[in-house]
């Protein structure tokens, strides 16, 4: 379908009249999902969604429109709408489409698992049933809220009247289960998942064990007294923290005064062992792609280097505002969205210890294994960070007493400057982006629990 989709995009881009420029972004996906519950299949879903998003740029204004109608008539009408919308946008010197570039972007390996095409629906159903069974079989698990296998095979094409044209394909497969553990009066829930390019790389037993453990190990959790103490983020939670941080790391957020890093470029913003890298080409990572949502080749950006803030992340417009080049960080939520800058695959470099070593170094600390209310309690503009937490108390570096209904809080710059170690257990987590979480020790945060 590859050639067809990019040809269709070129047909749309060729409608550019006079000095205007047109960009066509087309998506064609095939997806499948099976959800297991109580030993049986609860839902099966299959779909083949498709759509086109079109931007028209003229006289320093850009208008956007989208459609699911891929007929000649539908595509013609979406160009007219984008052109009409262009009239109402405020002219902006930085606005416009990505410039054409020479050559082809280097290959990003491993976006497609060729074996995935031959996986029969029956195998996917069996996988979900096995995931459900294995989760339920775990000691202490009373029920499984759901066990899900899901996959997609997506073709993405882009063409601009300035000369960008290309398409790529990616396959994705992922699964998760939600275990419910109970013990007398207490009930707890555990969520875990796995993701890969194809089903053959997913491990149902491992996901089942991890979901079950997340639920069982916090049974009987209680609050602890309020105290300032060291805090360890597990990889899952560390990725959630990166998700908040990333919102403050785009050039656009900084230009618009919506970043805690405004006016801090070149300054020390983290401990001197902290380096943070955004890389759109990591093999196997969720956000890897040859080019970004505007057709600009993806790349690697050193954001923080040994504590110094080195660079922000840019799309074409935010880069043009500073007279520099895009870092290939334009993303879209889909064909219905305009591109905006955001991180691709973002992660701290490991500091050379295993997770066990990091925990031993922490001695007595709160090991946070789940955050609650991150979207409300963490503010990438002010840097305020105060979120609910569940986890275990580390004593002599060993996880012990389960803890819940506490909050952990500290200004985000203090958290960054307090990072003592980042372990080597990195895991890519897709929380509306792609974040490489690893066990991370923070010297001190306020844990809010009992007492006033």
């Amino acid at each position: 379908m590859s050639a067809e989709l990019v040809d269709l995009a070129l047909v749309v881009a060729d409608r550019a009249a006079g000095s205007e420029e047109i960009e066509a972004f087309l998506v064609h996906e095939r997806s499948f999902e099976v959800k297991a519950y109580d030993g049986d299949v609860e839902t099966l879903a299959s779909a083949e969604p498709r759509g086109a998003g079109v931007r028209v740029a003229a006289e320093r204004s850009v208008g956007f429109a989208y459609t699911t109608d891929m007929t000649d008539e539908g595509l013609s009408s979406v160009v007219d709408q984008a052109r009409e919308n262009c009239r109402f946008a405020t002219p902006d010197e930085a606005a416009g489409l990505a410039p054409a570039w020479d050559g082809s972007p280097p290959e990003v390996p491993g976006l497609v698992d060729p074996s995935q095409e031959d996986v029969a629906p029956e195998a996917k159903v069996s996988f979900a049933l096995e995931l459900e069974r294995a989760t339920r079989a775990h000691e202490g698990v009373r029920a499984v809220e759901e066990a899900v296998y899901s996959d997609s095979d997506t073709e993405i094409a882009i063409a601009t009247s300035a000369g960008i044209a290309g398409s790529y394909r990616r396959t994705d497969a992922w699964c998760y289960s939600v275990a419910i553990a109970s013990d007398g009066d207490d009930q707890e829930m555990g969520f875990e998942f796995d993701l890969a390019r194809g089903l053959r790389h997913l491990d149902a037993e491992d996901v089942a064990r991890r979901s079950a453990q997340r639920a069982v190990r916090v049974l009987g959790a209680t609050k602890i007294p309020s105290e300032r103490m060291p805090v360890v983020f597990d990889p899952y939670v560390a990725a959630q923290f990166l998700g908040v941080l990333s919102q403050a790391l785009t050039g656009e957020a900084v230009q618009k005064g919506r970043s805690l890093f405004k006016d801090r470029l070149g300054e020390t913003v983290a401990a001197d062992n902290v380096s943070l890298v955004d890389d759109g080409r990591v093999e196997g990572a969720p956000s890897s792609a040859p080019w970004d949502a505007e057709g600009v080749p993806t790349g690697r950006t050193q954001v923080i280097e040994e504590g110094f803030l080195r660079s922000f992340l840019y799309d074409t417009k935010s880069a043009r505002r500073e007279g520099r080049s895009s870092t290939g960080n334009a993303t879209r939520a889909g064909f219905k969205s305009v591109p905006h800058p955001s991180s691709s695959n973002l992660a701290f470099d490991p500091t050379g210890e295993t997770a066990a070593e990091v925990m031993r170094r922490a001695e007595r600390a709160l090991l946070v294994e789940d955050f609650h209310g991150v979207h409300s309690g963490a503010n990438p503009v002010s840097g305020d960070f105060s979120v609910g937490a569940t986890g275990r108390l580390l004593e002599n570096g060993e996880p012990g007493r389960p803890v819940k209904e506490v909050t952990v809080a500290a200004p985000m710059l203090e958290i960054l400057k307090g990072i003592v170690a980042v372990a080597d257990d990195r895991r890519w987590l897709p929380f509306a982006g792609s974040y490489g979480g690893a066990t991370t020790l923070v010297a001190e945060m306020t844990v809010g629990g009992l007492g006033g």
Binding site: Y37, A65, F88, T407
Partner: protein, 460 residues
Amino acid sequence: MLEEGVVKQVLEEAVARGGDMAELYVENKRSTGLRLDSSRVEDVSSGSDAGAGIRVIAGERSSYAYTNVLTIDGLLDAARAARAGLSEGPTPVADLSRVEPGTTNPVEIDPARVPSTEKVDALNEADDAARSRGGEVVQVTATYAEVRQEVLVASTDGRLATDDRTRVRLGVQVVAARDGQIATGWEGPGHSGGFELLGRRPPREVGASAADKAVKMLDARSAPAGEFPVVLAPGAGGVLIHEACGHGLEADTLVKEASVYANRQGERFGSERVTIVDDGSDAGAWGSFGVDDEGTPSHRTVLFDKGVLVGHLSDLLSAKKIGAEPTGNGRRQSYAHLPIVRMTNTYLLPGEDRTDEIIGSVKRGVYAASFAGGEVKPVTGNFVFGMSEAYMIENGELTYPIKGANLIGNGPRVLGVIDAVGSDFDRWEGVCGKDGQHAPVTNGMGTVLLGKMTVGGTEA
């Protein structure tokens, strides 16, 4: 949207190999959105998203397929995909009869007929008003969104329902800064109706209010951590009810006994003051509709009656499992999603307490004026929600703003500490996320006193 003959043909194809029930959901959604940022109208977008989903239910199993190809061939292909795996004889399709909607949301001014320049003007007015509130206002983002969603639902058991939903929303986000301090303020009025929203909620007032919140919060000091009495502001405070009570009473979680409220109907959770309803038929409210996304009329459901748990929210499947009538709470984000149980407009009904007396009764506590959002685990009832605008209460008076604070607690237990409910009922519009699907919802309540809550802050 589709001829009845086509609808019937698709349904017949879907159950041609058996199954207990098949349902066709067709949606045509046209959206327009404008976004002003840094005093520039940066994004002007519009689009049309049309598709159809077919669900076949056989025993405990639901199969679903959807397509953007709305020709008879596209629909029949989807019907065949949805029935894959079935191999019995055909199930009969009942004659279709029209479902009466639970309410009608009037549209006085069709937003699609309003020139784009008026929408641009509205954003500029909100921007001007916000910036006029002082030099500390450094950034203003204003958004205008209109959606018209036409829906058709038909099923093999004879339901045929249509709905035509127009929603309009204005949003203003303000960033204020002073001496390295940064604070944000947000207002986002919306309704089920037309462009008349902007007459009722003038963009100037909305912009000014968001700016005032941000500027006030510049003086915020770090919030204390610990246990305090908490006063919730009218309207926005309803997030608590949504999170603490609503989600746990969605029958899909009840059926799976994944809710802390499972098997507890008739139990007392709060005082006589606590009556909570979910009402999708509240005409004009942001979370209202005529029929839900399964064709069930919208409905007012009492969840807690004077402190006693008496109700739940359900869609077709969960209602069948618990042997009750569906409450009209089956909603989906779009044709690409299966319906799930969702809240609509969830209200703690007004009480008789006076606002000044509620605040006056608190010696040392927290007043929560706006929330940034919240989250709950239905299995335990534990919730967290962040306060984007909050104040300390000392000796019965609001003294200074506090920042970086959130409330954490447990749903059933929090109902037990509702010690006062004000008569100053107000609504607050939001977007609720569940299982990856978003739905417009309203939270509503008057001023509420919670006797004791855990506040998470940075001061131990």
